[in-house]
């Protein structure tokens, strides 16, 4: 976990309800109200999708919904910008390959 629990300016992190979401079927803990991208980053998950042609991995880039590099399959819906979409308990997040037709199996 790499959460900033204490901060010299912002103080201690507020206690927030924890929720469980799944990433490619694996359960991880997220904080209610945070973005999917933040939850994955907090869980040291750095691969969000794989490109169609070159099969390279991508992750959060701009962080404010402009670049679409962080898109994933969320509750079955592909191309969801995870940096501006907030987690919900039980949400299913899947690594997206290309446009989202294939299922990603490689996560270790």
């Amino acid at each position: 976990m790499n959460r900033v629990t204490e901060h010299p300016i912002l103080g201690s992190m507020e206690t927030v309800k924890q929720v469980e979401i799944t990433i490619d079927g694996k359960v991880i803990t997220a904080l209610e109200g945070e973005t999917i991208a933040a939850a994955l980053s907090a869980n040291n998950i750095r691969i969000f999708r794989q490109t169609t042609r070159f099969k390279t991995f991508r992750k959060i880039f701009c962080g404010i919904g402009q670049c679409t590099d962080c898109i994933m399959i969320v509750d079955g819906k592909p191309n969801v910008r995870t940096c501006v979409t907030r987690v919900k308990a039980g949400m299913s997040v899947r690594t997206q390959i290309g446009r989202g037709e294939e299922i990603f199996h490689e996560r270790d």
């Binding site: 790499n2 959460r3 900033v4 629990t5 204490e6 901060h7 010299p8 300016i9 912002l10 992190m13 945070e34 973005t35 991208a37 933040a38 980053s41 907090a42 750095r46 691969i47 969000f48 390279t56 991995f57 991508r58 992750k59 959060i60 880039f61 701009c62 962080g63 404010i64 919904g65 402009q66 590099d69 940096c83 501006v84 907030r86």
Partner: protein, 537 residues
């Protein structure tokens, strides 16, 4: 279809400023924003802002955001979030989609576009690897989401964004391995650079990134030196380990909606590239569509706020809510504030671009054109000693005195207001360097926490027979404890000598800028300016 006076698109500082001013004069205003929280990028700005009292200097960005939201709320301004604009038509009908499913239309009489900017990317082999992110994304993660974007970070670019986000990453507890700058001068404020230098972060000038390496994510960064013509110098390659590379290489105005509306565009490199042309009222080439903030040229948040206020006043005036005689006065007042923010060598290019594009004398400030000499690549003790805020050696030996290490003209003056003795003076323009009236200075130290640049220190030559004391601002965790001995560091973050912590003043009025006083050997009174940062648990 709902009809209103003014639709503001974008709930950042420019949009909020526009809505508040128009609302204040009686216009019915709605703000829409595509994000699910208002404030644009303001809530990520956790540092104290520059400027003057009118610009809310010395107040942190997110607190300014809270005040603006409260003000908008008190005026009954509706902010529709998670709402995207999908069309702007000739009759100003705007089509919207909320929560990606609810489609609606609205008919405003005037529109303010305050869509902000978009960070630029930099391409190099490996730039798409996970771990290469924009500085803005890093700021969002560590200040809003409270997640570190990485453990060992390299920042590319020494503009204010690169400098500030590096500092904020340190505050959040990340390691910043280095900051890389292609040019031979720091792009942003010297005082921002000084903060991260005191923290021991190497700023590598005249270098650029040539690749990011790693299997599935960033593991290593390779940089190379550049010659005067920006060519790579073969053989100068250096590599180091990093898991995150932050790009702080500037922004472009986000012109998508302005283009959609048909606003005429022009290219102004010093303002970030293509932007909608606008006049002295911030009105675009399309009658009734105003622009403000980063969309109208990439600048700082306080500039965006004032441009927004101007757009709001102009739209309210054009709707008849402001008396014809009053409007030019209000406008002049805002242009005066904007002029002071753009004054000085760092703002000169932006000011002249704005003058060129607006083409009116109106935006002249009362100030003479800036003829500031070229800035040095780095400010040294000698530069500070020659600047008007530095006390004389005789004065230092007489007892406690403020020592202002502010040698670069930037628009800022909270130190003046903070001094109860009137010992700090900035004449003519807020960009001028602070002058210390050293005989008036009582050495109270109230100015230290007020300085957004953290550039004021308190020197007490007579702390004891053999020791002097040095006080400095400090915004990291953990805070040291009085009585502890820690390593004193110089302006480059290099160890000088062990020092004893005498006092840690973190009172409320300092607003989280702790003032730390250390006892140092008298010979180090001009060297020690901070302490080695402690290790976070």
């Amino acid at each position: 279809m709902k009809e209103i006076d003014l639709l503001v698109i974008g709930a950042g500082p420019a949009g909020l400023g526009a809505a508040i001013e128009a609302g204040r004069y009686g216009a019915s205003v709605i703000i829409v924003d595509d994000q699910d929280k208002p404030g644009g990028q303001l809530f990520k700005q956790i540092h104290k802002f520059f400027g003057s009292k009118e610009h809310q200097a010395s107040i942190r960005g997110f607190q300014i955001g809270q005040e603006l939201l409260a003000e908008a709320g008190a005026l009954g301004i509706e902010i529709n979030l998670s709402t995207k604009v999908t069309g702007i038509f000739d009759d100003k009908i705007v089509s919207l989609i909320t929560d990606d499913e609810n489609v609606s239309s609205i008919k405003p009489r005037k529109i303010v576009l305050a869509t902000g900017g978009a960070e630029k990317a930099l391409t190099f082999p490996g730039w798409t690897l996970p771990g290469v992110i924009t500085a803005g994304a890093a700021q969002t993660l560590c200040n809003i989401e409270r997640v570190l974007p990485g453990k060992r970070i390299v920042m590319i670019g020494s503009g204010n964004v690169g400098l500030i986000v590096s500092y904020q990453l340190l505050q959040a507890g990340a390691e910043v391995a280095a900051l890389i700058e292609a040019g031979n001068k720091i792009g942003g404020y010297a005082v921002h650079a000084a903060k991260i230098k005191r923290a021991g972060i190497p700023i590598i000038m005249g270098h650029t990134i040539i690749s990011a390496k790693g299997k599935n994510q960033v593991e290593e960064i390779e940089i190379i030196a550049l010659d005067k013509n920006w060519n790579h110098i073969p053989g100068s390659e250096k590599s180091f380990k990093a898991d995150t590379i932050c790009l702080a290489v500037g922004l472009n105005p986000d012109t998508r909606l302005a283009r959609l509306a048909g606003c005429r565009m022009e290219y102004y490199p010093s303002l970030g590239g293509f932007l909608p042309l606008h006049d002295v009222n911030m009105e675009s080439s399309i009658n009734g569509i105003f622009v403000a903030g980063d969309l109208a040229g990439i600048e700082e948040a306080n500039t965006a706020l004032d441009e927004g206020r101007l757009a709001g006043i102009s739209s309210a005036a054009s709707l008849g809510y402001i008396k014809k005689e009053l409007f030019p006065e209000l406008r002049k007042e805002i242009w005066g504030r904007l002029g002071s923010l753009r004054d000085g060598s760092l703002g000169a290019k932006r000011l002249s671009a704005k003058r060129e594009l607006i083409g009116e004398k109106e935006i002249h400030t009362d100030l003479s054109d800036s003829n500031t000499p070229d800035q040095p690549a780095d400010y040294t003790l000698k530069d500070f000693q020659e600047s008007p805020g530095f006390p004389s050696e005789n004065r230092i030996k007489r007892g406690a005195v403020a020592c202002i290490e502010c040698a670069q003209e930037i628009p800022c003056n909270p130190c003046v207001d903070s001094c109860p003795s009137g010992a700090i003076i900035i004449k003519d323009s807020i960009t001028k360097l602070p002058f210390l009236d050293q005989n008036r200075c009582t050495g109270c130290g109230l100015c230290l926490a007020s300085c957004p640049g953290q550039a004021i220190f308190l020197l007490n030559y007579h702390y004891s027979d053999c020791k002097a004391s040095v006080s400095f601002p400090y915004e990291y965790l953990p805070l040291p404890n009085p009585g502890e001995t820690v390593m004193g560091v110089n302006r480059d973050g290099k160890p000088v000598a062990p020092v004893e912590i005498i006092k840690v003043d973190n009172r409320k009025r300092n607003d989280h800028t702790a003032i730390i006083t250390v006892a140092v050997d008298k010979i180090f009174i001009h060297d020690i300016r901070s302490i080695k940062r402690g290790v976070r648990k």
